[in-house]
Each structure stands twice: as structure tokens, then as C-alpha cells.
Amino acid sequence: MKLAHLADLHLGFRQYDRQTSRGGNQREADVAEAFRRAVDDLLVQRPELVLLAGDVFHSVRPTNPAILFLFQQLHRLRVGLPESPVVLIAGNHDTPRSAETGTILKLYEALGVEVVTDQARRISFPQLDCAVLAVPHQALVQAERPALRPERGAAHNILVLHGVLEDIMDPEWSVSDYGSARLTRADLAAAQWDYVALGGYHVRHDVAPNACYPGSLEYVNPRAWVQLREEAKQKVPGKGYLLVDVPGARTTFRPVPSVRRHIDLPPVHGAGLTAKELDAEIARRVAGSKPPIDDQVVRLIVYDVAAGTARDLDHPTIRQYKARALNFHLDLRRPEQRRVVGVGAPGQRHTLPDTLREFLTRRPLDADLNRDAFVRLGVEYLDRVGGAAGEQG
């Protein structure tokens, strides 16, 4: 059985004030486009089961375009893959704080999507000989959690849930989704499942060979740079979703190209530079950007910039950069305040011969030995060793 595992679509996510030609938020359109591309790929890959592991929408009350857009895309999926069940669970972003708010997700049941929003459901798909335990955010934060254990009887047992493992949760909540339910590995018992489809962590991550986060489809956190850093660290090739063969849980990452890049330009160290020199450095960084900064999301950190220097920068040019990029974030950072504490006169660091000389001067010595000669000889030997090493090197 081949299943597709997507998570953290965050449709309706808005960022920056750049608008599309239709007047919508550009980043919201980017996020939607990423999902459209994912659906395009799904229709080619034709998985037998599609799992959406929470946070389909960025908020409980998503924008109208987002609601419409999801309807369109799920409709495409259902028409294109009529035999493939689609299971959608609510994440923390999809879950209202009070029951009276209700959830828009139920709308998609009309398309034949299995929508699980508050209580966990174990859904059997006899034609796939598969049971999916779908655990939405609400089920994990209520007093009595469901037992995350497979049921005997089905050939394939799949767990889909939205929550973050405590041991990978980053304290800044830049990669893991703020507000997600916390889980332990013992809660998951991954070894007992054929596959565990997780949502709530925005960078692709395997918590066990058969338990994975596919990551979000776009950079949907204000601190996308942390995600980029994490992706580089984990050698993750950007955003996408997972195709999983069950049993065996062999995963294939299907990259979904982003509409635009997030470019973190090489930082500038401004200590000792005048405003003009800094302008030149900034211009060099911008010119060297690959791809060019036009329509991209760009950040440039400049360290050690005094307030006066920052004032004197070439702001009209900077405004031009900002106009070219979708967002150009010139991150000017003040020099670090270093407190100088006087703790005696500055000392000179001892060299190795100095240290040896001092040691030999103090070392207990037989009375019949001449200490001066002993010290001199010791330092000579050290010099010889140093010289020999220098010659070899």
C-alpha cells in the first residue's frame, strides 16, 4: 500500500504586506500554490491513501479564499483519486478553543473526506486492509487521551496525529508548532505501528524509521530562517511531502518547489566600517545574491553597527532593495556592550619555555645537582624539540 503523508499546510497564512494582482496577500497565495503543486504531484503519484496530519488551515477562522481553495483542491483529489481515502485531522491551528466556535473542516466531509476534529477515531478501510487511528489535537490535550495503540485485526495499522515529541521540540518554537500537544516516544510506541504520520513540526524529521514529520509545505513561521538553518543541519532538501510504502515504511520525500526563495545573504561585520563602506558591503551582498533578490524573501544581518552609522546609511538605495524583493529585511545589530572589569594589570601569557623554566625552578631537586644548570638544560632540550618540529613542519 502506498500512502501520502502531508502536514502543516497552514492555508490562509499571511505575511508581509505585498499583494497579488487580485489584491490578496502574496504569501497566502504562495502557501496555497505550494499545496496546489503538492496535489498536482499526488495526482501523478496516485497514492492509495492520503493523510493530512493537521493544521490544514492557519487559523480556526480561515480566510474565505483559503476555504474555497481547499475545497477546490480536495475536490481535485477526490475526483482524480476516487478510490483513495483522504483522512484529514485538525491540528492546534484548526482547533477552536471553545466548542461553540465549530469548525469549518466539517465542510469537507461533503467531498467524502474523513475529517476528524475533536475525538480520536479509528477508521477501518477494508479494501486496503488498513486501520487508521486519527488523533486530532483536541484528543491529545483533553484530560483522558486516547490510547495510541494499534488494533488487532487489520493488516496495516497507521497512526496519524498532530503533536510534537518533547525531545525534538525547540524551545523557540520556530520549527515545532507553538501550542502543539506534547508527546513522548513511549506515548507513540512507534515500533507497534506500520507507520506513524506526524504533524506539527515544520521541518522534515524522522523520529523513528517508521514515524515521520514531512514538515510544512511552505515556510509558514515568522522565523523561517531558523527552519532554513535546521533544514541545512538535517540535510533536508526544502519543503515537500512523503510517500510511504507500507509495510516496511519505506519513505520517499517528494519535494514541492516553493514559489519563491528565502535568501539569507552572508552577514556583514560592520565593526570599524564607515556608513559608506557599509553601503558598499550591503550592495556587494545584494549584487551577489543568487538568485537575484527580486520577488524573493531576503535577509541580511549586519553586525556591529553603531546607531550613528545606521542613520548615515544610504536609505534610498535600501528602499530600492526593499521594493525589488518581496521582503528585504536589513537586520542591523548594535555592537555588543562589553563590561570591562579591572582585575589587576594585564599579564603576559607565558610561553612554553617560560612555563617549563618556572616549573623546573620549583621542582624538588637532589641537593648535589646544580639547579641553574638543570633549568638551562631543560629549556635547551625543549628548544631542540621545538626546532626539530619546526623543521619537519
Partner: protein, 652 residues
């Protein structure tokens, strides 16, 4: 209480050219009918001594005795009785006889200048004399007395309490206690139980808080320390004389590993009335890996295995770890670790790479894997594959509390592991001063097994050596017992400031360690009755014989008769029993319904969480941790979705 008695001379010091009095030994004679014997403490008053005088006073302990008459040779006696022993009794005159005693000097007053013992009158020592003779006056008086009653010195129908100096028994001046004696007389265990009770009642307040950690390594010896034992009037009188209240320990915490099923406890304290006090001792990979050296035998101890274990601890455990073959692991349990090992072996095989993985040879990796998986198999119940761990309350040790770790039925390897880890953790916390108490007495029996004088160097022996040499600075005090002192590592026994000897085997007494004892003392030692000991303590210049009362706790053998261990229960019943113990309101059927068809590991984990948290509503909490069952629902038949009319306007 020390009482002064009216002095009554019982003998007189004699000195001849052949048997002179010296500064360390003297001889004295007594009447033939005397009550003193080997081990009696006597006082010699030289001319001018006494209440008013300023002469020399010497205290000594009797180490040998002689009796002889004025016969020139034995032949004279034969001739006098005409060769008939029956006629010897009818002899007209009674031969002159002498009782001559040798005593070793305990103390001289004044101490300087040190001189031979004066030829003065000999008196039986009173309470005050005993205190003075044994230099106990130095620590029984003063603003902060540090005396710990250890037993009653008994001679000639007279009893005097003897105290050990807490500074020298429990540190920091010296520390540690070693007790040896033949097995089977219950002397060693009884003595330690009694002494611990005495310490708990008399540990000076200015020295802070104290606890004891006892390893029960055989049978039910230490399983009933909180239950009162039978005492007779003599015992009660001795307790009164020593100023100790005869009562069982008020606070005892029992820890025992589980059996292989993970719920029944591996201890003899499983009687339904008592098992409630026993906490399971269960360790996971993290707890074991730090002490993995313990698992390596002599053939295994090499730098490579050590380095690989360190690598696992530092780089792998609880970290996101890339195996180099595309797999990522976070190792937290034995099961995870085995997964990593399998990935390494498979990876090396599939890639056809060399036998090296991250500079570690595959043979080293296999060896470490075997040792680690071995422990989880051999010590199943103590070591859990992936279940929850439950440890001693590090950082929360309570004052005057005995922590008994019952490892009597654990595999020898597991015993070593328990011992090594527990002692290491104690040392760690005492170094950081965050154990909860300032001093801990660790009682280890069977030192012949754990710290033998010969044989391979083991982790446990190294640790015992470390405690005996460094422990006193930390407040870590070793009370150790063995059968054969001569076969225990010399530095372990040598570092014990106080030594107790029970009845000794004649062969053992023939070893060089006992050469300082006189033949008479050895005879006495070989025939010591139950309840008597010989004690050596830094303040006592000579060994002293003492009698101590039976401990006021139930003896192990009596305990298992009065509280017979329960038979192992089926898994479900064992879980019920543990939950009911935590909350009497729980009905067995509720629990059984709840755990039916659950995986035992999940049940064990939930049970451990309940034990750890001690919630008010144990069943609700147990249910919550187990999680609600989710019944399967078959997905409704899905009808194909017809293509819909296009939405008039694209949303984006």
C-alpha cells in the same frame, strides 16, 4: 550512666626478672576463686594513688591467665599420690596454688612519663574506670558528646556501657566498620541492626542527618526491619543500661526488583500485609549505561570496549544520532539501542564497507552489544527493555531512615550493577551535598565475594576501595561484613576505623592478621557465644569484649515464618494488588476490565506512573495514563465525487 563504685582490691601486681612489669603489660595474681577472666578490665593503683593521692593509675585488660603450684616437677605429684590419681584427692595438705594473670595496658594516668606499671593493688574496673580506661571520657563529656553505645562490657557480674566515638565511627576523623565472624550465628547481621538503631538514636544533632542504605544480599535477613522482634528481660535490661529504646526502625523503605513479569516483586517481603511498602527497583538503559563497565569481565576490559561505551553515553544516548547509513536514531531504551546496532550491522553488510564503524571495530561493537543485551535478559525485572524506570529517591533521602535494597534473588551480575550504581549515585549526591542527609551508612554483607583479597579487579571492588579510602570525607560510611577477614582486600579492612569480631573459625584465627592476639584471646574468640563481640576502635588501645542485646527487629527467619511470602500472582492480579494498595476504593474488576487486552508494557508504564505520582484518585489516573480505547469504525462507503461546476472565481 557511668557510676562510681567502691573500689575493692581483687589482686596485686607482681613482677619478677622473668615476668617484669612493663609500660605495656603487667602481671598480677588473684585469689584462686576469682570472678575475673580473659577480657576483664582492671585498674592498678600505684603507691599514693586513690582519691586523695597523685600516684600512677594504670588500666589494663586481661589477655592471658596462668595457674600453677609449688611443685618442682609433675613427677613429684605422681610420687606423692603413689601413682594413683584417686589417692591424690586424699593428700593431707593442700598444695599452694596461684592464679596469675597477664594484662595489656589500656591507659596510664598520668600518661607522661610512660613508665612500667607500678606494683600496686588491682581492682575490678567500675563504669567510670571503663570509660577512663577506654578513653571514652574524651567524647562522652563536653559540650557536644559523640558517644554511640555499642554494647556492654561484662566482667565479674559487672556491666558497663561502652561507647564508640561517632567522629571515628562515621567520620570525619576515621570511619567505616568491619565485622567478621562465622556465618549462621546471626551475629554479624544482628550486630549491624543493633548498631544502626543505636546510631539513629544517638547520632549527635550537631553532625546533621543520617540515613542507611543496606543491601540485602541473602535470604530475608533485612526484610523485616520495621517489625518488632522478640526480646527477653535480659535484652530489655541491656537496652536500658545502654540508653537505647528497644524498638524497630521507624522509617524503612524497601526496594526490590521485579520478577521477569514486571509486576511481581523479587523479594521475600511479599506477604500481603507488607508488600505495600516495597517499591520496585527498575532501571532502563540510561541508568545502566553509565555503569556498563560493571558488565565487563576481566577478559573484556579493554580500552576499545570502554571507548565504545563512552561513545554511546556521550554521543548516542538521548540524542539525535545519524548512523552513517541514512538512518536517524534517538536511543532511549534497550530496544532503541538494539535497533541502532542492527542498523550498523546491516549498513556495514549492505555497503560492503570495512569492519570499522566510526573508528570502532565491529567485534568491539558486537561484544558491547552482547554484554548489554545480556544484562537485560539476565536481570529482566531489574532492567527494563523499554519500560519506565523507578529508582531510589536520590536527593530526597530522609533523616534516620533505612533504605533496604533487596537483591538477594538477583543474578550476580545484577547485584554488582545495583551495588555499583547505588554507591556511585550516593557519592555523587554527597559530593554535591544534595542527597538530603549529611551522612549515609552503607551496609554490605559478603565482603569475601565483593572485595576479595585476590582474584580479578572488578568494578565493585574498586568502588569499595574508593569508599573506604575517600568516603569519610564525603559522609559515606561503609559497614561491611564477611566471614574471613583475612581474605578480604587489605585496604578495605585496613581503612575500617572500627572492627567487630564475632565467633571466629580456628583456621581463620591462625592467619597472620590475628597474631597480635594472645592465645587466650583467640580461644575466647573461637568460642564466643551469640550476642558477644570483640571490638577494636581507635580510642581503645586493646580489643575489648562486649555483649549486645538482640536487635529489636524481627529476624529474617522469624519474619518469613510470621509473614510467609505470597505466591506470585497472575499479571492482572498483581496489577490489581498494587493499585488497591495505593487506593483502597479500587475494585479488582474495574482494574481487570481496564487492562484486558492491553499490552503488559503499557500497563506496567501506567502502573509506574501511578506509583510515582501517587494521585488522589489512583484508578482515574491509571485510566488516564493507559488512555481511552478507540473502537474501530468502518469507513462509510464513499461514492465517487462527480466533477462540480467550476467556481466562478479562482480564490487566488
Amino acid at each position: 550512666m557511668i557510676q562510681r563504685q567502691t573500689p575493692e582490691s581483687i589482686g596485686r601486681v607482681v613482677a619478677t626478672e622473668l615476668k617484669p612489669a612493663t609500660p605495656h603489660q603487667f602481671h598480677f595474681w588473684t585469689a584462686n576463686e576469682t570472678t575475673i577472666g580473659i577480657g576483664a578490665i582492671v585498674k592498678v593503683e600505684g603507691p599514693g594513688a586513690g582519691d586523695q593521692g597523685s600516684g600512677r593509675v594504670v588500666f589494663g585488660v586481661v589477655t592471658d591467665g596462668f595457674a600453677y603450684s609449688d611443685l618442682a616437677t609433675p613427677l613429684h605429684d605422681v610420687v606423692g599420690a603413689e601413682g594413683d590419681p584417686a589417692k591424690a584427692a586424699e593428700r593431707p595438705t593442700v598444695r599452694q596454688e596461684i592464679r596469675l594473670w597477664t594484662a595489656a595496658v589500656l591507659r596510664q594516668e598520668p600518661e607522661e612519663p610512660l613508665q612500667p606499671v607500678p606494683l600496686g593493688a588491682v581492682y575490678l574496673a567500675s563504669d567510670a574506670d571503663v570509660a577512663q580506661a577506654l578513653r571514652m571520657d574524651a567524647y562522652l563529656t563536653g559540650a557536644q558528646p559523640t558517644g554511640i553505645p555499642v554494647g556492654l562490657y561484662t566482667a565479674a557480674g559487672h556491666e558497663a556501657p561502652v561507647y564508640l566515638d561517632a567522629d571515628f565511627l562515621l567520620g570525619p576523623e576515621a570511619a567505616h566498620l568491619n565485622i567478621s565472624g562465622v556465618s549462621g550465628l546471626a551475629t554479624k547481621t544482628s550486630a549491624v541492626e543493633f548498631l544502626l538503631a543505636s546510631i539513629f538514636q544517638h547520632f549527635p544533632a550537631h553532625k546533621g542527618r543520617i540515613a542507611a542504605l543496606c543491601f540485602n544480599v541473602k535470604g530475608p535477613d533485612l526484610c523485616f526491619l520495621d517489625r518488632p522482634g522478640a526480646l527477653d528481660d535480659a535484652d530489655r535490661r541491656r537496652y536500658e543500661r545502654l540508653g537505647i529504646t528497644p524498638q524497630p526502625f521507624e522509617r524503612v523503605r524497601y526496594y526490590a526488583p521485579c520478577k521477569a513479569d514486571g509486576v511481581n516483586l523479587n523479594t521475600l517481603r511479599t506477604h500481603p500485609d507488607l508488600v505495600g511498602d516495597v517499591e520496585p527497583l527498575v532501571w532502563g538503559l540510561e541508568e545502566v549505561l553509565d555503569f556498563a563497565e560493571v558488565l565487563l569481565n576481566r577478559d573484556d576490559i579493554d580500552a576499545k570496549a570502554d571507548a565504545f561505551i563512552d561513545f554511546l553515553s556521550d554521543r548516542v544516548l538521548n540524542k539525535e544520532f545519524d548512523d552513517g547509513f541514512g538512518g536517524s536514531h534517538r536511543v532511549q531504551t534497550f530496544a532503541d539501542l538494539d535497533g541502532l546496532f542492527r542498523a550498523i550491522f546491516d549498513g556495514l553488510e549492505l555497503t560492503g564497507r570495512s569492519d570499522m564503524w566510526r573508528t570502532h571495530h565491529i567485534a568491539t561493537i558486537r561484544k558491547v552489544r552482547n554484554r548489554l543485551s545480556n544484562i537485560s535478559t539476565r536481570c529482566k525485572g531489574l532492567v527494563t527493555d523499554d519500560g519506565p524506570s523507578n529508582d531510589l529517591p536520590w536527593g530526597r533521602f530522609e533523616d534516620r531512615t533505612v533504605y533496604v535494597v533487596d537483591v538477594a534473588n538477583v543474578d550476580a551480575l545484577g547485584q554488582d550493577l545495583v551495588f555499583a550504581r547505588a554507591v556511585s549515585k550516593l557519592r555523587e549526591h554527597l559530593e554535591r551535598r544534595d542527597l538530603g542527609v549529611e551522612a549515609v551508612v552503607v551496609f554490605v554483607d559478603e565482603l569475601n565475594k565483593y572485595a576479595p583479597g585476590d582474584g580479578p579487579e572488578t568494578y565493585v571492588r574498586k568502588m569499595l576501595l574508593d569508599i573506604s579510602e575517600r568516603g569519610r570525607y564525603l559522609g559515606l560510611v561503609l559497614f561491611a561484613a564477611e566471614q574471613f577477614r583475612s581474605q578480604v582486600h587489605r585496604r578495605v579492612v585496613g581503612n575500617a576505623g572500627t572492627t567487630l569480631f564475632g565467633r571466629m573459625d580456628a583456621d581463620e584465627l591462625a592467619t597472620p592478621g590475628y597474631q597480635v592476639l594472645s592465645p587466650a584471646t583467640k580461644i575466647k574468640l573461637a568460642t564466643l557465644p551469640i550476642g558477644e563481640l570483640m571490638v577494636r576502635h581507635p580510642h581503645f588501645t586493646q580489643p575489648i569484649f562486649l555483649r549486645f542485646p538482640r536487635p529489636a527487629v524481627l529476624r529474617g527467619r522469624d519474619g518469613v515464618e510470621r509473614f510467609p511470602p505470597a505466591t506470585d500472582l497472575p499479571f492482572e492480579d498483581a496489577v490489581v494488588r498494587q493499585l488497591v494498595r495505593l487506593d483502597r476504593r479500587i475494585r479488582p474488576n474495574q482494574v481487570k476490565d481496564l487492562i484486558a487486552e492491553r499490552r503488559p508494557d503499557d500497563v506496567r508504564r501506567a502502573l509506574a506512573a501511578v506509583r510515582r505520582t501517587r494521585p488522589e484518585d489512583a484508578l482515574a489516573y491509571f485510566r488516564r495514563i493507559l488512555g481511552a480505547r478507540v473502537a474501530p469504525v468502518t469507513a462509510p462507503a464513499r461514492e465517487a465525487v462527480p466533477p462540480l461546476n467550476p467556481i466562478s472565481e479562482e480564490p487566488y
